[in-house]
């Protein structure tokens, strides 16, 4: 074990020394997980501009993170609207009609797209860094001056319905919708990012609301511009000032209702025999934080107890072969979300047994904590996994945008990984006792039974 720990320590030294090759010598980078400096420039209108130079000759990724997602859908009848609005962002402006926008986008030769989740909407382009000027122009124009006809608005709703239609083929998506509304009663996490089908069908009638939505959220204070790749902060900041300087700050703040404390186990079931029987255990977890130990400790717990090197995995998947897949972890979210353990069964008859085994594994952590050596190995895994994953501008931008959505600050990534280093065996025991409790639990099941068998 000592050898392993030494090797780990040596590995970190190597990564740190490699990373300093590209670093600004004035910035102490060696002890940060991201081996590249993050340059931030806060514009007068509140827009945050983030640049991470990376050795990718001729290639850059431009991401705009709008910190608005399904979480902000606080009014009745508009579930799924943040996602729908993401679609509308491709529908043109006075300067660029939707056809001209498409042609201009094509002329950049970039891979461009967007996606929405609970807490944010992300618009991204990866392409030739020489095209950055045009990319900035196109993005600023639609973020500041989006304009679409009522007919285009109504038409786009059909594409969203098409997206729901394709997703519906998966029973996992169906149970996800039911799980959200069962685990949350008040908070907007009670609906999925896609929204309820009835609201999607009604979307064409929400043209006026869509203008309000744009006016509220497509404002500098809700957005971060992030560029990673063959760029300098000077160039990026100048482009941001040129194209986003005139963007006016807004005033709106959405009030997201607080979810009341859950007091007993909840159940939800989907009758579907088309896939192997499945269940998930969903405990109420904490909100993401880069300064509180709870979330980092839960991440470590998830890796130790539920990853494919865990005792549970070895027992249920490898040795007894009663489970096809088991995995678990907390979803990072701005407000308290769910810590989920998902299990796909070989045979549904073993569901109660597997549930009991998971409960036993959790109980063990609650009373005995975790092996300190395994804890160190887990910390090593978390760090190296991150280091292995950041080998393109897009991969770095994806990673940073995740933390920007959560806190607004890309440095959260470095703070979080520093927190992982501080997690103790006691912390892991503490979070198991604090969060993984029956009264905080929602169990979701899929099987061909009319009623869930775990109730």
């Amino acid at each position: 074990m000592k050898t392993i720990i030494m090797a780990i320590a040596m590995g970190f030294t190597l990564i740190a020394s490699l990373s300093t090759a590209n670093a600004d010598p004035t910035v102490a980078q060696a002890d940060k997980i991201l081996p590249y400096p993050i340059y931030q420039h806060k514009m007068a209108n509140g827009l945050n501009v983030v640049t991470v130079p990376f050795d990718s000759p001729g290639l850059a990724s431009l991401y705009i993170i709008t910190r608005v997602g399904a979480r902000n859908e606080v009014e009745p009848g508009v579930t799924g609207f943040a996602h729908f609005f993401e679609h509308m962002m491709f529908r043109g402006t006075d300067k660029y009609s939707k056809e001209e926008y498409g042609a201009a986008l094509k002329s950049t030769g970039a891979a461009a797209n967007a996606n929405t989740s609970q807490d944010r909407t992300v618009y991204h382009m990866t392409g030739n860094s020489d095209m950055l000027d045009l990319m900035f122009e196109l993005e600023s124009d639609r973020f500041m001056n989006l304009k679409y006809s009522e007919h285009d608005f109504k038409t786009e709703a059909g594409a969203v319905k098409g997206e729901y239609t394709k997703n519906f083929a998966s029973p996992y998506n169906q149970i996800d919708e039911k799980l959200s509304e069962t685990a949350f009663n008040t908070h907007t996490y009670s609906h999925t990012t896609m929204g309820y089908f009835d609201d999607i069908v009604d979307m064409p009638n929400q043209y006026e609301y869509s203008k309000k939505f744009f006016d509220r959220y497509y404002r500098p204070e809700y957005n971060t511009v992030l560029v990673v790749g063959d760029v300098t902060p000077e160039k990026v900041n100048a482009l941001a000032e040129k194209y986003f300087g005139a963007w006016k700050r807004g005033e709106y703040k959405s009030v997201v209702p607080v979810e009341p404390e859950q007091t007993e186990t909840r159940y939800v079931h989907l009758q579907d025999g088309s896939i192997p029987a499945y269940f998930s255990m969903n405990f109420k977890g904490p909100a993401f934080s880069d300064s509180n130990i709870d979330m980092p400790a839960l991440d470590v717990l998830a890796s130790i107890v539920f990853s494919n090197t865990s005792d549970l995995y070895k027992k249920l998947v490898i040795d007894e072969q009663v489970v096809r897949f088991i995995g678990g972890g907390a979803a990072d979210s701005r407000d308290p979300g769910l810590f989920t353990i998902a299990v796909s069964m070989v045979d549904k008859k073993d569901m109660p047994y597997v549930l009991a085994e998971i409960e036993k594994a959790i109980a063990k952590v609650k009373t005995e904590g975790v092996d300190p050596a395994l804890l160190e190995r887990t910390k090593s895994n978390l760090k190296y996994r991150f280091a292995m994953g950041i080998d393109t501008p897009e991969a770095i931008a994806e990673s940073l945008s995740h933390y920007i959505q959560l806190t607004g600050d890309p440095e959260s990534i470095n703070r979080l990984y520093a927190m992982y280093d501080q997690v103790t065996a006691d912390d892991v025991k503490m979070v198991a006792n604090k969060y993984l409790n029956q009264d905080q639990l929602t169990i979701a099941t899929i099987s061909d039974d009319e009623l869930g068998v775990l109730k």
Partner: protein
């Protein structure tokens, strides 16, 4: 003397090079990288399955990558790699099987024995066999039909196109064939088709020459059995438009894939010309391509519509084409993502309470008509220039990470090229509009195609009747959308609704009976 030693040394280098050339090796040294990527590829794939053992190559590869090796159990291997965050996996396609190993530079020496064991000394235990085969059986019995109707329709289309040939079956096999695979089958298949005659080594990142030489020497120890990879079967020519409708309970829409044989691949220079036409018509996940504009953007019918001139793996997730799926036997295809079915339209809009079929027939007519128009009219000079410029930039994005760069280089060899993406750029640069329009007319036709539609059981029969009878299929918009549509779109709808398709055969297949 000094000179003699020098000469001797250079002779040794030459000898070594000659010996090294015996194994196909692709190198991509990146000294600034913090990792090493090793790809070990075997030219076998699912076409190497014995006729009565469909799924055997996939099973063998899975046993190697998800089982014990070198006497170390799978669990213990996972434990060893855990603190390094090293990983490996395998991807089996129709013609190749590729193992990919990735490790931080700091741990390559410790990791190396695992690479060696996985490839040279898989344990093939009964216990691993039981687990791996259960998973494979599960996939062919259930998962393939129940996860994504889009992928389902795509696999079912291949099943039609290659019926009777070695490209037909799912790489995972069939419900019946997987049941017959034994551990002895796997052991002998490993000796027969994972040999030192059909292996290619790829290595990228910050590796040493010593590591490379070790890899070469060790891979030479693979089975020495003579092996000639089978020739992939050609896609069949349909007789007219032949449609299979897969009827499924509780489907929410109609997922459509259609295709016909294509005689060229990346090996042919002409492929670049057809690529320009295809990109304009249906570039994967691009909102400015023609099909997307016509079906999704203007008519609000679904989530997207694209076309392909080669296999595109996992299109629902991948934005850019991945490496690792080179194929010598090809077809071109159109992907129409799920469109509405009648029962859904009826329940959503009172004004559509009387519709008899959903949008599948109209969407198919619209897509095929767009191809017919392109075949007849060719691309315009403006569209050609814009698309060529786009592709010359866009294709540079295909290989960004070290693993993808290596993968694309290895795929290049499959097609007899050295660096396909670089060569492609030169080919695109030299392609003329005349060449593109010639390639369109030469390679695309819509009279003889296979079509697969996965749909709800309530939709299957009315849709089949409509298709076989070439019944007019007027587009059924909700009033909300219809009221704002310009007259030219409504006029075009009228033409599309009555557009004749050369449909000669429509079969309804129960979902449970597919892939047999």
């Amino acid at each position: 003397m000094k000179r003699m030693i020098k000469q001797l040394l250079s002779l040794l280098v030459i000898l070594f090079t000659i010996q090294a050339q015996a194994m196909d090796v692709v190198e991509l040294k990146q000294e600034n990288s913090n990792k090493v990527v090793v790809k070990i590829r075997f030219t076998n794939g699912s076409i190497a399955d014995p006729a009565d053992k469909a799924g055997l190559t996939y099973a063998t590869a899975s046993m190697m990558a998800q089982g014990g090796a070198g006497g170390i159990s799978y669990s213990d291997i996972q434990d060893m790699m855990y603190p390094w965050a090293a990983s490996y996996d395998v991807f089996t396609d129709k013609q190749v099987t590729t193992f990919t190993f990735q490790v931080p530079v700091a741990f390559i020496d410790k990791f190396y024995p695992l690479i060696k064991n996985v490839v040279l000394s898989p344990d093939f235990t009964e216990k691993d066999f039981s687990r791996v085969m259960k998973e494979q059986q599960n996939y062919v019995d259930q998962v393939v039909r129940a996860s994504s109707d889009e992928d389902y329709s795509k696999y079912a289309l291949e099943h039609q196109l290659f019926r009777g040939g070695n490209m037909q079956h799912l790489k995972q096999g069939t419900s019946a064939s997987v049941k017959t695979i034994t551990l002895d089958d796997i052991k002998s298949h490993y000796q027969n088709v994972f040999t030192n005659h059909n292996v290619m080594l790829g290595i990228a990142g910050n590796y040493s020459d010593e590591l490379l030489n070790k890899l070469k020497a060790d891979l030479a120890k693979l089975s020495d059995k003579a092996y000639t990879p089978p020739v992939p079967s050609k896609a069949r020519q349909a007789e007219g438009i032949e449609i299979e409708i897969i009827s499924k309970e509780n489907a929410f829409g109609s997922a459509i894939f259609t295709g016909a044989p294509l005689g060229i691949t990346r090996a042919d220079d002409e492929f670049a010309a057809l690529m320009i036409a295809n990109s304009w018509m249906g570039e994967h996940r691009k909102s400015y391509s023609r099909l997307y504009q016509k079906i999704r953007e203007t008519r609000s019918m679904n989530y997207g519509d694209y076309s392909y001139i080669e296999w595109y793996s996992d299109g629902g997730s991948n934005q850019l084409p991945p490496s690792g799926v080179p194929r010598a036997s090809s077809y071109w295809s159109i992907w129409i993502r799920p469109v509405q079915i009648a029962s859904q339209l009826q329940s959503q809009y009172p004004e559509l309470a009387d519709v008899k079929i959903g949008h599948a027939h109209f969407a198919l007519r619209l897509a095929i008509r767009e191809f017919d128009l392109l075949i007849k009219n060719g691309m315009t000079a403006e569209d050609f220039a814009a698309t060529k410029t786009f592709l010359r930039s866009y294709t540079k994005l295909y290989a960004q990470s070290p693993a993808e760069q290596l993968g694309w280089l290895m795929d290049s060899r499959f097609y007899g090229r050295t660096d396909y993406l670089a060569e492609l750029d030169a080919l695109l640069a030299g392609t003329t509009l005349e060449q593109v329009n010639k390639a369109i007319r030469k390679h695309w036709q819509t009279k003889n195609m296979f079509v697969t539609i996965v749909t709800d059981d309530s939709e299957a029969k009315p849709l089949a009747d409509s298709l076989i009878n070439n019944t007019p299929s007027p587009m059924s918009y909700s009033n909300l959308v219809k009221s704002g549509l310009p007259a030219e779109i409504l006029a075009e709808d009228e033409v599309v609704a009555n557009y004749p398709l050369n449909v000669k055969k429509v079969t309804i297949v129960n979902s449970a009976d597919t892939f047999d």
